[in-house]
Symmetry: C2
Subunit: 277 residues, 2 copies
């Protein structure tokens, strides 16, 4: 999190359903976990409504912060409220154009459906052509499980990718097309995390002990997560680091865990559970 | 969502755990649902790391968009990585000061713990005083279930509130102190939503039908959520509206549901399940 040299990512989640609390943003946490595991750093997640102006503004703001990747989810489907590509076009001052390659992808998918189902009309109606209408400088990305292609474009120093919001489609495209890019950019950096649980010691007592261990272990980040009330303490202590290889990462985390465990026990705390991930 | 006259809210979630995908942001969706149910509109959710600069930047950006409320969660505890109040102070160019009322709240809580537990030292150590150290123009808000008080301050036209990240504490303070404010601001406006499920009709076929029903029912927002693949369609159709009373809202939604159900069935779709909330 603190490593400024790391590959920075911003996620923009588009969808009214996220802003009315109808849907929990598991897409963002799934991507954040996956991207972190590959050694990259998610710096910001922004959730906005299905509104061209809001999408355009959020994308422009993100571009100004110069992350290596901006990944949007949601708003690529056939209905009127799928407005992400329109928002991107506006942000980038580009026209929306029917992309022939994207149209081929959509067409192929409906023909497959027809072969499988029989009664489905594969005609390229306006809502279907809409899914292939992307900003003029964008390229489509193959969607292995759904109809709407994703879109990718290279800006100066930033790669902008628009993924669908249906989780199975988002995940499939992420694995197929984005994971290889992130791996390449991260250059073999690994993220490693582990948790232990401390009982019978208050978070306010733990605070200076955590400070000391972080001071003595420069590249390890420790965060306490209270799982109960301050006076009946059950606290998760989460250790994480980013390193050039797994052994270095594990050694660092192991050393910090040993030191904080000893300090906790010296202050009447109990280390009850150890979870290593 | 489209109503510009509505009371606008922004949520800022602070915490590395959200950006590494360790924790799903259920706090934001809980608040979004609760605020929406009271007739207010959440316009943006921003997730950032435990970093003073990031917090300060995100808060300044939110203030510029002039929402009526900005609510932050996370980062109010006793440890070094609880940096939200420092971030707010920086954003507002205010000093951090020990607030006597807040200190009284923290002190009272530890004395209660001592009475309940026996062995707990109620001494106001530095990490505990930290929880009562808030921006100089802020006031503390009572925390009914935890130790760290929340903080509130009035800016020009915007109320800025900092809540803890522990869900039980966040929810308790929200119910006790924020719900009455939102109710008053919303002035009796109600939000109403309902869903029906359509089978055997593809989203690309539904798209123009939804357009028509939204056109004919000006204040109703309809969003389709595919729950399966395009060729074996099972689609949730979510209807929502904001109205001055519940009866108006229910009548509007009922009329739109009836029209879209009829159109769907006329296009070989099946309305299988009806869920009214």
């Amino acid at each position: 999190m603190q490593d400024e040299a790391s590959v920075r990512i911003e996620i923009i989640s588009v969808g009214n359903e996220l802003l009315i609390g109808k849907v929990v943003n598991t897409n963002a946490s799934w991507m954040a976990k996956r991207a972190t595991s590959l050694g990259t750093t998610v710096r910001r997640i922004t959730v906005i409504s299905d509104d061209v102006e809001e999408i355009s503004t959020a994308v422009r703001e993100a571009i100004k912060r110069k992350p290596r990747f901006i990944i949007t989810t949601g708003g690529l489907g056939p209905t009127f409220d799928d407005k992400t590509l329109e928002g991107l076009a506006k942000a980038l001052k580009q026209n929306l154009k029917v992309n022939e390659k994207a149209l081929g992808m959509v067409k192929k998918r409906y023909e497959e459906y027809r072969k499988q189902g029989g009664t489905i009309d594969p005609e390229l109606t306006a809502p279907r052509v809409k899914m292939a209408t992307i900003p003029e400088n964008a390229k489509p990305l193959h969607n292995p499980v759904g109809t709407a292609p994703a879109a990718i474009m290279n800006l100066r120093g930033t790669v902008l990718i628009a993924l669908p919001g249906v989780p199975s489609e988002m995940e499939a495209i992420f694995e197929e097309s984005i994971v290889p890019m992130l791996k390449k950019e991260a250059g073999g950096i690994v993220f490693f995390e582990a948790s232990i649980f401390a009982d019978s010691i208050m978070e306010s007592t733990l605070a200076p002990l955590i400070d000391k261990v972080m001071h003595d272990n420069a590249c390890v980040y420790i965060k306490s997560h209270p799982k109960s009330k301050e006076n009946t303490p059950h606290i998760e202590l989460h250790f994480s680091t980013t390193a050039k290889d797994e052994q270095t990462a594990k050694e660092r985390i192991g050393k910090a865990i040993a030191q904080l465990s000893a300090l906790t026990e010296a202050n009447s705390g109990k280390i009850r559970t150890k979870v290593i991930r």
